[in-house]
């Protein structure tokens, strides 16, 4: 029986569920892993490489698939599986996607789709979370996602790995030239956002030599917002193709942070005790 289960699970992406009997009952994560490690080692290994397998961000088999086998794959393929752990519906990571054209098509049409179909060959009119991030059932969700790093750019090898994984998904609907241009544009857009962060960092660094930590609290708070919120919004806007996140939640928000940092530091220069001798020259 266990063997039969494993055979089914190994091929669940391509074999219709109706044809193979599935075991009844509920399973804990350890039981899933024990069986799948033997019979679908590749799938487990992919999951283990991903951020989902890390202790602090653990998303186990049962978290996404539920504890029983019936419709376990179809259930996990839907966006609802991902939303709660990724900050809820209003978090930038979700909202940037759900307001994109892909996101609205999924929202409008998902109840009419047959979610038993594998995540490939444009089997779905528009891609949900899993369609892109677990394309062809690849359980390494990190395959098409760069490690988020606000300050530094991405190295060429990492860029090729990430873009290669995503290109395979996009090209099922979009032309290679369109994909390349969007990718390149996205890199440039993110670089520009990063320039604003670097400019702010240089202003704060310079000011740190002249003023106390307490005097720079406001500037540093804006800087944290730049890195952890507004630049990340640009990044999410590019990845999820949300013009609203690229722009309103992103670039002009960074402009606001940058000018407020300059404003805060500029005002310190006008303090009676120091500024004049240093800046008047």
């Amino acid at each position: 029986m266990r063997r039969l289960v494993c055979v089914w699970l190994t091929g669940f992406a391509s074999i219709s569920m109706a044809e193979v009997p599935v075991p009844e009952g509920t399973f804990e994560n350890s039981a899933c892993l024990e069986c799948h490690q033997q019979q679908s080692a590749e799938l487990v290994a992919a999951w283990q490489q991903s951020v989902h397998a890390a202790t602090e961000t653990l998303a186990s088999c049962v978290d996404c698939h539920g504890k029983s086998h019936g419709k376990a794959a179809a259930r996990a393929r839907r966006d609802g599986t991902c939303v709660d752990c990724h900050g809820g519906a209003d978090s930038p990571v979700n909202h940037s996607y759900t307001t994109s054209k892909h996101g609205i098509l999924v929202r409008l049409e998902q109840d009419e789709w047959d979610w038993n179909r594998p995540l490939e060959q444009a089997n779905y009119r528009a891609p949900g979370c899993a369609y892109c991030h677990m394309h062809k059932g690849n359980h390494n969700v990190s395959a098409g996602v760069r490690i988020w790093n606000a300050m530094d750019g991405i190295d060429t090898a990492e860029r090729e790995r990430v873009q290669g994984a995503m290109r395979a998904v996009c090209q099922e609907c979009h032309s290679p030239r369109y994909i390349t241009r969007l990718f390149d544009n996205g890199e440039r857009m993110l670089d520009i956002g990063r320039m604003k962060v670097h400019e702010a960092a240089a202003v704060i660094e310079q000011a740190a030599g002249e003023f106390t930590g307490a005097e720079l609290v406001a500037a540093r708070e804006y800087f944290v917002r730049m890195q952890s919120l507004h630049l990340k919004n640009v990044y999410l806007g590019i990845g999820h193709q949300s013009p609203d996140y690229q722009w309103w939640h992103g670039q002009p928000a960074l402009d606001g942070d940058l000018l407020r940092i300059k404003g805060a530091v500029g005002e310190l220069h006008r303090l009676p005790a120091r500024g004049n001798s240093k800046d008047g020259e």
Partner: protein, 455 residues
């Protein structure tokens, strides 16, 4: 008139004969650069603009040579890009019925694979003539409108000034003027999809136009969220077909592809007189539309309520503008206008630097490289004010309350900052200390340098 005075007639005629053609020539010349629009000579397009503004920037791929008929396109693209073929197969273009001919790829994109084009609205208009004519008619009503969206984006000073990869998203939304699939996603081009509010929210969301949030939170939106799934979206947007209104039901009533003709307050970024005779006509158009469900007097009252909300908002905004203009007059803005990068694309600004305050001075493009207090006003005006306006227009009273509370906080913060700036200047004057030059801090840096050199 004596003979001697004839020259008073000739001089202006001659000046006009020279100036008018010269003006036309200048505009033509300024539009003939590598970019597009009035400032086309000042910027180069990013490669991806080809897809958002195909009329100006798209050039066919030359990967495949040959001329193809529709069935051949399908046969190859079924393997190459299965998604778009499946989408087309499910569309009415593939099975139009009523004895109409199938609309193939080549009918819109052309047959020659080395001279393909992305269909602009006029291509769709060849068959959908009524909708295209309605869409074009928007131009009579000016901006904001879908039909003028691209033109106005290209001519916006901050679009021209900023690095082009940064402002790509502008064109992505403003491409609603350049292609019909902004609302009818390719390659299904479904009318039912465009009737639903979600078709609008990719662009109509975010701080300056929270149309999505304010609609969903309204009684209309709540009804849609609760029951919309069960409504028959194949029906036209007409009385009796829908239990509650959606974006398109009100703004494109009866399926008319014209969102600008009933618009009074427009985007809410400047004050208007809501009681002009023209606006009285528009008001009655709204009342007639609302009468699908509501009594005329009740609807009129709602519009009066909107006017009252706007009046309150503008009172607050003008108070803030007055503070900023005072600061400018008294040279209290810091950095001063000549200590920051010049106002976008304005050569006059480098000769005569001037801070911009409010709509009529073009502050909509001056949200960067400005002092924090000017940015505070920009956010009050562009975000909090517009949030309140959209709340009032869409029937989300909580958004109105939130927006006005935020504007009051903004105004208080602007007042406080203004008196701080005054205090700093007073202290400097008393100590006979010169205000430090802010130019070094404001005119250089990674992004600022890049922005100056690349746009």
């Amino acid at each position: 008139m004596s003979r001697k005075h004839v020259r008073y007639v000739w001089v202006p005629i001659i000046i006009a004969l020279i100036a008018v053609p010269a003006g036309f020539y200048y505009v033509d010349w300024s539009k003939s650069g590598e970019g597009a629009g009035l400032y086309s000579r000042q910027w180069l397009p990013d490669a991806v603009f080809a897809y958002w503004n195909p009329d100006d920037f798209y050039e066919s791929t030359d990967l495949v040579a040959g001329e193809f008929e529709g069935e051949q396109c399908i046969a190859c693209h079924e393997a190459v890009t299965p998604g778009i073929v499946k989408d087309w197969q499910a569309s009415r273009h593939a099975t139009p019925g009523n004895g109409k001919a199938t609309v193939y790829c080549s009918d819109c994109h052309g047959n020659n694979h080395q001279a393909l084009h992305l269909p602009a609205p006029d291509v769709c208009g060849a068959c959908h003539a009524t909708q295209h004519a309605q869409f074009e008619d928007e131009k009579r009503y000016g901006f904001p409108s879908h039909a003028l969206a691209m033109e106005r984006a290209l001519d916006a000073k901050h679009f021209v000034d900023k690095p082009k990869a940064e402002v790509t998203a502008c064109l992505q939304c403003h491409s609603v003027a350049s292609k019909c699939d902004s609302c009818h996603s390719r390659h299904r081009f479904n009318a039912a999809e465009a009737r639903r509010p979600e078709a609008c929210i990719t662009c109509h969301s975010g701080p300056p136009h929270p149309d999505d949030e304010t609609y969903y939170a309204s009684a209309h939106g709540q009804l849609y969220l609760a029951e919309g799934k069960e409504w028959d979206w194949s029906k036209p947007l007409r009385k009796g077909n829908y239990k509650g209104p959606t974006c398109a039901y009100c703004h494109m009533d009866d399926g008319k592809h014209q969102v600008a003709d009933k618009s009074m307050w427009k985007f809410g970024i400047k004050e208007i007189n809501p009681l002009t005779s023209g606006n009285e006509v528009k008001r009655e158009q709204w009342v007639a539309l609302c009468s699908d469900c509501h009594e005329a007097d009740w609807s009129r009252q709602q519009l009066v309520g909107l006017d009252a909300e706007r009046k309150q908002a503008w009172k607050k905004l003008y108070s803030a503008e007055a503070i900023l203009k005072d600061l400018r007059s008294n040279d209290l803005l810091y950095p001063a206008a000549n200590e920051r990068p010049p106002y976008p694309t304005d050569w006059l600004d480098s000769l005569w630097p001037r801070a911009r305050v409010g709509f009529f001075e073009g502050q909509a493009s001056a949200f960067y490289n400005v002092s924090p207090i000017e940015r505070d006003y920009f956010e009050m005006w562009y975000f909090d004010n517009l949030g309140a306006y959209k709340g009032a227009a869409h029937g989300d009273q909580e958004a109105v309350r939130r927006g006005h509370a935020a504007m009051e906080r903004d105004l208080a913060a602007i007042e406080e900052e203004a008196s701080r700036l005054q205090g700093l200047a007073d202290a400097e004057q008393q100590a006979q200390r010169q205000r430090p030059d802010a130019a070094k801090l404001w005119k250089s840096g990674d992004y600022t340098d890049f922005n100056r050199e690349q746009n």
